[in-house]
């Protein structure tokens, strides 16, 4: 359980942050941490702790899969790309044709989040399609 010791600060931080459904297990020399954070800041904090233990994530001995919980009532999301526009595609995948774009910082309507990675959205212009969920931040 050397890995559990190495990442103890991280698992302690996850427990302290009240990560829901927290699961920590070691398998074939890799530690898997799964759970759901209440918000994006909590998730980012855990990643900072991870970065302190394993600078630049070069060890390859941890898979930290902490998602952010989203209230089912949430209907809008903000585009959180670094600076560029976010592509809206016909289907869930970068191989799908682009049907529209949402500007950086724009708040758009969430239609369906049944796919974890690709959310179905609608822009204020009425364009509907799929966006990469990692670039969307649910609006409370």
């Amino acid at each position: 359980m050397a890995l559990a010791d190495k990442y103890k600060t991280l698992t302690d931080a996850a427990t302290a942050a009240g990560i829901a459904d927290l699961a920590v297990r070691e398998q074939d020399g890799i530690l898997y941490i799964d759970g759901t954070a209440a918000d994006g800041a909590t998730k980012d904090h855990l990643w900072e702790v991870y970065n302190q233990i394993d600078p630049n994530f070069t060890s390859g001995d941890l898979v930290l899969n902490v998602n952010v919980a989203i209230d089912a009532a949430v209907t809008h999301a903000k585009v959180i790309t670094e600076s560029s526009n976010l592509n809206i595609r016909k289907g869930p995948g970068t191989d799908q044709p682009i049907v529209g774009k949402a500007a950086h910082g724009e708040v758009i309507t969430l239609v369906n989040r049944s796919n974890d990675l690709w959310w179905l959205v609608r822009t204020n212009d009425g364009e509907e399609g799929y966006c990469y969920a990692q670039y969307l931040e649910a609006q409370a």
């Binding site: 297990r25 998730k43 390859g60 995948g93 191989d95």
Partner: protein, 154 residues
Amino acid sequence: MKTTKLLMSMVIATTLFFVGCKPNDAAIQAAIQAKEAAGITVAVAKGEVTLTGEVDDEATKAKAEEIAKAEKGVKAVINNLTVKPADVPVVIAEDSALIKNVADATKDFPTVKAEVKDGVILLTGEIKKASLITLMQHLSALKPKKIDNKLTVK
């Protein structure tokens, strides 16, 4: 004299009778505790047994209750044992799904090259330090077996 002796023996007999039929709480506690598995705490009050602690599974929990019920002098058993939550198995994505999802996740990082084999994502190329956490967050959500990060951080 005879009456006194008779009375005395009757008192002793009565005492023995009650002690024999109603073992006291401490004795019951010790007897059950000795038979229960480690991690189970046994408390007894007026013949009522309370079991507390954490066990591995439901079967162990039921067994612990049976052991307590079988003990002489036990009137009732309150089973407050909790079952340890089973470890959620590690889910690792199939390569076919992983390859597609990794392509989607790395699309916005043109200096990063990603290869997928047997669930392992191998990253080569270079990346800006500020973008590294974002990329790692995106990839970790795809349920890989491992992320082998050989990126040069600028």
